[in-house]
């Protein structure tokens, strides 16, 4: 069939062609929505039922505990502010782990990178003269956090690219080194006596959200959430709309093929882990520039590791990561709200169940969906 014939055919029957395409498209969209929504839904239900059992096991009423959990998180402005505050850090560590996973690398060093970013933001804030305008001080603090986290991320990247050292080992070991170094820095040089924190920063503080709306009064939520959301947007654009992002994903999918296609795999690994570290480091501004305005030892303990769960549940997709961060933040704040009734260990266990259910439900629900389609 010549081109001419084809054109003629299309012109003869234009409506059918486009209609078919619309149908195919809409079914595709529907399937994708189902695939995106159903697994978390099933996992959530499984977790809720396991949660019921755990709550009953400690002798409390599931309905009352869940209600209290909702009231303490989305039910009042203060609780919601706390959820937003926790979301902010988790977005960063979740994005950090996601970038690594996209490039086929498992960064478990977000814990140390986050702390390094926080320390850098504090150092910038302490070095600037009092009264430096926020227009200058905030970007400098943010850059400091990015640079410090990126530097910590660069090391395992370079070790992997040049000497083949596995990043799981190097990133986790680097956590200890970085945290010990920061601990020394605080206690030997920067500490306010009888505390575990540095003096307050001179400049670069981000406003609390309570400045905009008084309902948030007392909550730690602050302007850094906007910066982190921008980071998620930019990362999404980078990963899916730029050449660098394409190379990164290509290396993650099939390094050998990527290499054959002319992509420098080693350089991509370094770039991915540096970017990953920088994103984790950015999370440090939430506490340091936004909440307490100083660096405190262990200010976000666990947020780095929870970032792994956020990335897995968010399926390494920036939007998914934001939603997963919101979810885990709700769980964490909700756990605090019900802590007087149920022990913290129970909430930790529930968090584990959520992660397991999420991880298991994705392939399982997909299998069931595929079966259903096969039957049709």
């Amino acid at each position: 069939m010549s081109d001419l014939d084809a054109t003629a055919m299309r012109e003869e029957n234009p409506s059918t062609v486009s209609e078919t395409m619309v149908i195919v498209r809409s079914r595709d969209v529907r399937n994708r929505v189902i695939e995106a929504v159903l697994p978390p839904l099933v996992a959530l239900l499984v977790s809720i039922v396991v949660g019921d059992l755990l709550i009953l096991a400690v002798g409390q009423s599931p309905g009352a505990v869940y209600r209290l959990m909702l009231e303490g998180t989305w039910g009042n402005a203060y609780g919601f502010g706390q959820v937003l505050y926790k979301t902010t850090t988790l977005i960063c560590t979740g994005l950090a782990v996601s970038v690594g996973l996209r490039a086929g690398l498992f960064n478990i060093g977000a814990e140390g990178q986050l702390a390094a970013g926080g320390m850098a933001a504090a150092l910038v804030g302490l070095a600037l003269p009092v009264g430096t305008t926020a227009v200058i001080a905030v970007p400098l603090g943010v850059l400091g956090a990015l640079a410090a986290g990126g530097a910590v991320g660069f090391v395992p990247g370079a070790l992997r690219a040049n000497w083949g050292a596995h990043e799981v080992i190097t990133t986790i070991m680097l956590n200890f080194i970085v945290l010990a170094f920061l601990s020394w820095l605080v206690s030997a040089h920067l500490r306010v006596p009888e505390t575990l924190h540095t003096p307050p920063i001179h400049a670069g503080a981000l406003p609390r959200l309570s400045v905009l709306w008084n309902g948030f009064h007392g909550s730690a939520a602050n302007g850094s959430i906007l910066i982190e959301l921008c980071a998620a947007l930019i990362l999404g654009w980078y990963l899916f709309r730029t050449r660098g992002g394409f190379e990164l994903r290509a290396v993650g999918l099939q390094p050998d093929a990527a290499e054959n296609a002319g992509i420098n795999v080693g350089r991509t690994w370094i770039r991915a882990l540096t970017l990953s570290g920088a994103l984790a480091g950015l999370g440090g501004i939430n506490f340091v520039l936004g909440y307490e305005r100083y660096y405190e030892e262990g200010f976000a303990t666990g947020a780095g590791f929870l970032g792994i769960a956020v990335a897995l549940v968010g399926r390494s997709n920036p939007l998914g990561v934001v939603l997963a961060a919101l979810f885990f933040a709700t769980l964490s704040q909700g756990g605090l709200a019900i802590n007087a009734l149920v022990p913290k260990q129970m909430v930790d266990a529930l968090q584990g169940v959520v992660i397991l259910a999420m991880a298991a439900s994705v392939p399982e629900v997909r299998r069931l969906l595929a079966q259903a389609r096969g039957k049709r």
């Binding site: 159903l38 839904l41 099933v42 239900l45 499984v46 809720i48 039922v49 019921d52 059992l53 709550i55 009953l56 409390q60 009423s61 599931p62 309905g63 009352a64 505990v65 209290l68 303490g72 203060y78 706390q82 505050y85 926790k86 010990a180 601990s183 020394w184 206690s187 030997a188 006596p193 009888e194 505390t195 575990l196 007392g218 730690a220 506490f287 909440y291 307490e292 405190e296 030892e297 262990g298 200010f299 976000a300 303990t301 666990g302 947020a303 964490s332 704040q333 756990g335 605090l336 709200a337 802590n339 007087a340 009734l341 022990p343 913290k344 629900v365 069931l368 969906l369 079966q371 259903a372």
Partner: protein
């Protein structure tokens, strides 16, 4: 698709069934007329066999002895400390407590924001202003301190009486004024019963890491034992585990700190200088009930059972009756004010 909907339906049914299984309402809101107390532990604090567990015991005792309802909160991360205190303050608890010096800033800020709520900080760290004067805590905040030097004085006297050596040892954690208080009391206690004795005092380091370094603790203890020391008092957190290890290895004696550490090296723990966190917590809850609660710095020493030493069936064999009687006599002397214990080296 159908099987998936079945799964979802089954889960929903299970959830509803479980909801009905225990419909009793639960609330943490303070009951009117009751004695509701909130206690926030440090991050990862519960299970430390020391401060936080002591506070928990104090809360439990208050529930039994005073009929209080005590609500405990365990924070998951740094910002949860403030969030936990706020949660409890917003529920109109009669008393809100934070366990550990790390709560100092949060408690101070919240006490100002909730002037009608009573707050108390265990081991509250007093801040100094630019002139070096102590900044007093807000009037509705009780800053609870321990007279560690008094308890250390007693174990120092005990060590010198039991030690059979003119040399006594001390291993401190981080080289800071707080730990110097232990050393000062210990030294004074040794000198009180044995003026020609000497105390070898060493510190594990100058960073908080010095409280978590059993290897260094063992190293220091071994060298002290080898130089002729028979008893070492440690005030060094988990670094002290190394001291006990050395005591076991050299078959000498060590003295524990904060909580009864007998179990760390049975037969080699002469006694422990304990902080009565439970007694302090119970006392504050009682004050909240009786209306005798007041803000400001409150120090708990031997008289208030804020500090003490262990003498029970585990270590009775190590301490002759005459020595015990002498130490008790000294305790009475300190409580009566006849013996003044220095708090600085």
């Amino acid at each position: 698709m159908r099987s998936l909907l079945l799964v979802i339906g089954a889960l929903l049914l299970a959830h509803i069934a479980l909801l009905l299984a225990h419909p009793a309402p639960a609330a943490i809101a303070a009951t009117t007329g009751g004695l509701d107390v909130g206690i926030v532990f440090d991050v990862g604090g519960r299970g430390d066999k020391s401060f936080n567990d002591g506070a928990y015991r104090g809360g439990e005792r208050a529930e039994q002895a005073l009929g209080a309802r005590v609500h405990f909160i365990e924070p998951g991360e740094g910002s949860d400390r403030e969030a936990g205190l706020r949660l409890l303050a917003a529920e109109h608890m009669q008393l809100v407590m934070g366990v550990g010096f790390i709560f100092t800033d949060d408690l101070t800020a919240l006490a100002k924001e909730y002037p009608d709520t009573r707050f108390a900080g265990v081991d509250y760290a007093l801040a100094l202003d630019s002139a070096g004067k102590v900044i007093p805590p807000p009037p509705n905040l009780a800053a609870l301190k321990f007279r560690e030097e008094q308890g250390s004085f007693l174990v120092g006297a005990l060590a010198a009486l039991v030690g059979k050596s003119k040399k006594l040892g001390f291993v401190g954690g981080m080289d800071i004024p707080l730990i110097h208080k232990f050393e000062a009391g210990y030294r004074a206690g040794v000198m009180y019963v044995c003026p020609d004795c000497t105390v070898i005092a060493q510190y594990a380091g100058v960073t908080p890491e010095a409280f978590r370094n059993p290897g260094r603790g063992k190293e220091l203890a071994l060298s002290q034992y080898q130089s002729g020391v028979n008893v070492i008092f440690h005030a060094s957190g988990s670094t002290g585990l190394g001291v006990f290890e050395a005591a076991r290895q050299m078959d000498r004696l060590a003295i524990g700190v904060d909580a009864d550490q007998y179990a760390e090296a049975p037969g080699h723990v002469l006694t422990s200088m304990v902080k009565g966190v439970d007694a302090v917590v119970l006392d504050q809850i009682r004050r909240a009930r009786d209306g005798s609660f007041h803000g400001g710095v409150q120090e708990y020493g031997l008289a208030e059972h804020g500090v003490g030493y262990i003498y029970d069936e585990h270590n009775r064999a190590l301490i002759p009756d005459s020595v015990h009687a002498r130490v008790e006599e000294i305790r009475a002397g300190i409580i009566a004010g006849r013996i003044v214990v220095p708090a600085v080296r």
